[in-house]
């Protein structure tokens, strides 16, 4: 009977009945760039030693050909799927990554690391500067998406993986995917950049700039020297609130909040009244508990610096790329609108890269890459299957 159903259902609609959470997972640390072999950075400085938080799920096969690297977005971390001991909430892409899921940990060895400059276990501005014994703060050098990916490449080397089956990421994670495609094309068999852009546009920089200004305008920021005292909570929360507005869409906000107000009378004239206000406040306050304000400055700056076309033109940016590419965008995403993904697709066309571009229907806005799982999972799992079987465009890889 099952076979019959499978025969009657188009491939991508076959739902895997056994998808489940991966269960308990733990973060590991990769330490490198020790004195005197500090890591040179794109903007000229160097840094070391480094500790990079990462998680892996699934089993690396014998010929080490089933490794999938996931790159996280601005506020993400190495904890993609499963749960940490004693915690209830699963990782940030638990719906997508796990046994029988879109990125199937029964088939693939999945890796994700926290970015350089982050605050979830990898060396960043809140880490101790070995030269002073105090947190780096603003003494931390500016880092780029290129530096983040260089660190990931070191991790992949350390894990003994010559070639990744795929590198996948959305938003800032998608920028890292593009960086892999340009910087280490020979190290990847496929790439899935999701809801991202070849370069940050003035509008995108502007939103990040306002977020940074909010942090720096908070008197508790103290030029980044707030460690050990009160953190710039108000500023960082406002930055996050702005962020959340840009991650949603008009339609998704309408559906989620409408013009609904809280039933109780407001204590103050301008305290939260509309549901959307309460939601943004809650999101902002929550973010402060889990994110470092200086990391927010550094990472958003890295995003703003991102321009994969630096020194290239559209025609030759992917010229050396043999990897297969799946570009995904979402119709309601106005922060990284689909025309930016189409530009990525265009660069693939011009370079003769084997690529697909798909615009997924979703009303969630930029958040779609985290929320619109079903259609996305179908596309990603089928794409990975064809790459992993070497059955892509009819060819069978040696």
């Amino acid at each position: 009977m099952n076979e019959l159903i499978q025969k009657l259902t188009p491939l991508h609609e076959v739902r895997v009945p056994t998808s489940r959470s991966i269960g308990n997972v733990e973060t590991k640390y990769f330490n490198f760039a020790n004195h005197p072999n500090f890591l040179p950075l794109e903007l000229g400085e160097e840094i070391g030693p480094l500790s990079i938080a990462y998680e892996t799920y699934g089993i690396l096969n014998k010929d080490r050909s089933n490794a999938v690297l996931i790159s996280h977005a601005l506020s993400g971390d190495a904890h993609v799927a499963g749960t940490h001991w004693g915690e209830k909430a699963p990782g940030w892409w638990d719906d997508m990554v796990g046994p029988g899921k879109g990125i199937d940990t029964d088939k693939y060895f999945v890796i994700c690391s926290n970015v350089l400059g982050g605050c979830k276990g990898s060396t960043g501005p809140s880490s101790i500067n070995p030269q002073t014994g105090k947190p780096y703060g603003l003494e931390f050098p500016l880092v780029t998406i290129g530096d983040m990916v260089n660190v990931q490449r070191h991790l992949i080397d350390y894990l003994g993986i010559e070639k990744l089956l795929a590198v996948i990421g959305g938003s800032m994670g998608g920028m890292q995917v593009l960086q892999w495609m340009v910087a280490y094309p020979e190290r990847i068999r496929s790439a899935i950049p999701i809801a991202t852009a070849l370069k940050h546009t003035p509008q995108q920089i502007a939103f990040n700039a306002v977020g940074r200004q909010a942090v720096m305008a908070d008197p508790d920021w103290k030029c980044g020297n707030y460690y050990g005292s009160s953190v710039p909570a108000k500023g960082l929360a406002v930055a996050r609130m702005i962020g959340h507005i840009t991650y949603m869409s008009d339609a998704s906000m309408n559906e989620k909040f409408g013009r609904r107000t809280k039933p109780e009378k407001q204590a103050l004239k301008f305290s939260d009244e509309f549901e959307v206000e309460g939601y943004l406040h809650y999101r902002g306050d929550n973010f402060v508990k889990r994110f470092d304000a200086n990391s927010y400055l550094y990472v958003t700056k890295a995003i703003d610096y991102f321009n994969i076309l630096n020194g290239h033109n559209l025609e030759n940016v992917f010229r050396n790329l043999k990897a297969k590419v799946l570009v995904l965008a979402f119709k309601s995403d106005w922060l990284y609108p689909s025309h930016q993904s189409q530009e990525i697709a265009k660069a693939c066309k011009l370079a003769g890269v084997e690529a697909s571009y798909c615009e997924v229907n979703s009303t969630y806005g930029h958040d779609s890459f985290l929320l619109e799982i079903e259609e996305q999972a179908g596309l990603i799992s089928n794409f990975l299957k064809t790459v992993s079987n070497g059955h892509f465009n009819g060819s069978h890889e040696a």
Binding site: P10, L11, H12, E315, K324, L326, Q342, A345, K346, K349, L350, G352, E354, A355, S356, Y357, C358, E359, N361, E375, G378, L379, N382, F383, K385, T386, N389, H391, F392, N393, G394
Partner: protein, 193 residues
Amino acid sequence: MKRTEHEVISSWIDNGASVLDLGCGDGELLSLLIRDREVRAQGIELSDQAIHSCVAAGLSVFQEDIDTGLSDYNDGSFDYVILNQTFQQVRKPDFVLTEALRVGKKVIVGFPNFCYITDRFQIFFHGKVPVTASLPYEWYDTPNLHFLSIANFRDYCSRKDIEIESAAFVSKNKRIRLLPNLFGEVGLFLLSK
């Protein structure tokens, strides 16, 4: 009918060529060309469902409009550009064919012949817009925007200096050689500029 059409198209394509299929649907033709001609295949398609099927089949496909999707490509990017059963559905067939001839070294066009005998009968005796196997849609619900005959297309090619390298006509899954504008349900043309 589709099978014979696909065989004709396949017979016109050199082994190992690069092919762009405009409106590739679920990728049936491209998969056939990969299997039989070992082509490097690329599709362009609008439908979500069809895109998913293409990705699942391991095909490279861009979700975009045929009317605009060609402008990204450099001249002569493909050995063949195929417009099979989509030519009559684009908004500006003249523009799309000109673009296809720029992007492809050769272009294959296939379309339903509006002056096929059954269509003529239906117009003449019923006084109604024909609904046939090759034109299966009612007037109020059809993706076809343009209605042309094999004779119309030949005229067009000669006016535009487009060379017809080969032509084939199909009815009821068979090749037709006699009076194709009357007995050919579908016209297929191999073109170059």
